[in-house]
Point group: none
Chain length 186, copies 4
């Protein structure tokens, strides 16, 4: 009965927004520019996403090209691989983008949800491996797995956003070693 939405419009907008946010960060993401770049009227964007924040929410949902990971039977190795992969992924992403997302998340609850969902995958993956490690007894301490996960992943964000130090593969290994203890003699 009514005219259906043109699917291409959505993707063009998202693509333009992605390009913009990549290039200038969330702060520098301008609705006018996105509209122009996408060859779309601003009205059209607002008809679909009621605010810039919601557009970003949608955008993030699209971006979630996450750290792929297949668990093996060696938790230590899995953990090392995972943490290293996360570190690499974070390093590849412009820091300002991550920081802007965190900032937007802190301001707008709706964005918060979606940004948290963005990171949740990897957090869950680490949690699974930590649980497995604990099950097979690789993790000695009697600590809640959630805490261990935070201590493996948190430092990565901490360095990135707070201290500004680099995220090397070596650093990732150190984190794992610190949690699991030194490798058994071989």
């Amino acid at each position: 009965m009514i005219r259906p939405r043109n699917a291409e419009v959505g993707s063009r907008v998202l693509a333009a927004a992605a390009a913009e946010i990549e290039a200038r960060g969330y702060e520098g993401l301008s609705m006018d520019r996105v509209a122009e770049q996408a060859g779309v009227a601003k009205t059209t964007i607002y008809r679909r996403w009621p605010s810039k924040a919601e557009l970003v929410v949608a955008l993030i949902g699209h971006l979630r090209s996450d750290v792929p990971f297949e668990p093996t039977d060696d938790p230590r190795r899995d953990l090392t691989d995972l943490v290293t992969a996360i570190a690499a992924n974070l390093t590849a992403t412009p820091t300002s983008l991550i920081a802007d997302l965190a900032a937007a998340a802190a301001r707008e609850p709706r964005v918060g949800e979606s940004v948290r969902a963005l990171w949740a995958d990897r957090h869950r993956a680490v949690t699974a491996v930590v649980a497995e490690a604990q099950r097979v007894g690789v993790v000695l301490h009697d600590v809640q797995p959630a805490v261990l996960v935070d201590q493996l992943v948190g430092p990565l964000y901490y360095r990135l956003l707070v201290t500004g130090e680099p995220l090397t593969p070596d650093y990732a290994r150190s984190l794992v070693r610190s949690v699991l203890g030194p490798e058994e003699s071989r």
Copy 2:
């Protein structure tokens, strides 16, 4: 020789900015409003702080009623106290402010320096205690102290900025316990 800056101007501006940021968040911090509220000309503010970001940096630097800390001879207790205090301090500060600072830091090098300097104090304090703990043998693992510090402090920021989980005293204790191992029976 020249007319000195009126110290009261600075404090009035900072006070107004603090009030504003408290009331409306970083987002809602308007230079015009700060100027008006402080009874000061906007130009005067800009003469001292070249941008809004720098004003906020100064503001935080001022607010640095930092985590006071006197080391005792019990590193475990010191560490617990310190981490708990940092967690409390972070909790007391609006999350969006911290996130915005991180974002500003990621964008503008100048701001980055200042913001990093802001967190550096507490980072250093933790480092000192960790070193002491290592010296007296409380820390079992053979890990670089820098990594341990990141694993104590990083998770706090991680929860705050990324997962959004709360920073309870209990959580702080868990972090310490995870690093130092369970308390010896006594």
Copy 3:
């Protein structure tokens, strides 16, 4: 196709600007105040007129309740009427406005065009009458009409902008008499 400009906005702005310029002169014409007085956003004004100068140009263009003139078959009388009318019109306009327009014209080419277009009408009218006078032999001298026009109109601006002497009807008559020669005895 697109949302048309609200004509009322234009007229309200122009009206406010006219009132302001009347009351405080070109110097005291503030865009903010015009916007407020017109009940219009400042951005809207700038969307239509890219600068204060252009707004004033438009304003004058609007005010061009120009020297209406119907040629008769008596060139001498026409000329006298025209020059007198121009003098009256110049006298009625605040001198500072005319001077500021000239200044703006000298600085910005774009404004220059508009301002010259503003005066061109009357210049053309005088030219036509001079040509007619020359055709019917009222003008004795063998001079290019353009020069005669300048000698009829130029002195008006000269007095206004340079010597500051008044533009009386008498003076206008003298200018014409100087060019056409004394009236034939009648």
Copy 4:
């Protein structure tokens, strides 16, 4: 007992102001910049000239490096020379400066006086020659000399400030011829 004013300060300020006004026009004349360029404190300038306008007044008084002229016994030639010289002088001066001076003159009475004094010299010179011409009978018409002067000089300013047409020597000659009539065959 009191410290006398350093005469050099005044000249340095005037020199700087002259340079500035030459380069950027009256509008672009900034007191801060003059102070800096003159290596003088702004206070010092304001101690001597209570406002920018007054400084310009003083400056103009200094600039009056006028059209030199020695009358001969041939009024027609004198007039041609004079008008040509004035035209040349006007052409050599940046139009925007002349326009700005006119504008300033229209706004500030004090500046008006001094600007009028600036042009008065040449006006007077032309008046003298016209009177002489009238005395020896070169000027046919029975017109007040003041009007003739305006018709000789006014068109120059008119072209410069209003129509924007060039001031060629030819044009100057045309003006004279128009007033004096064609040269007698000789």
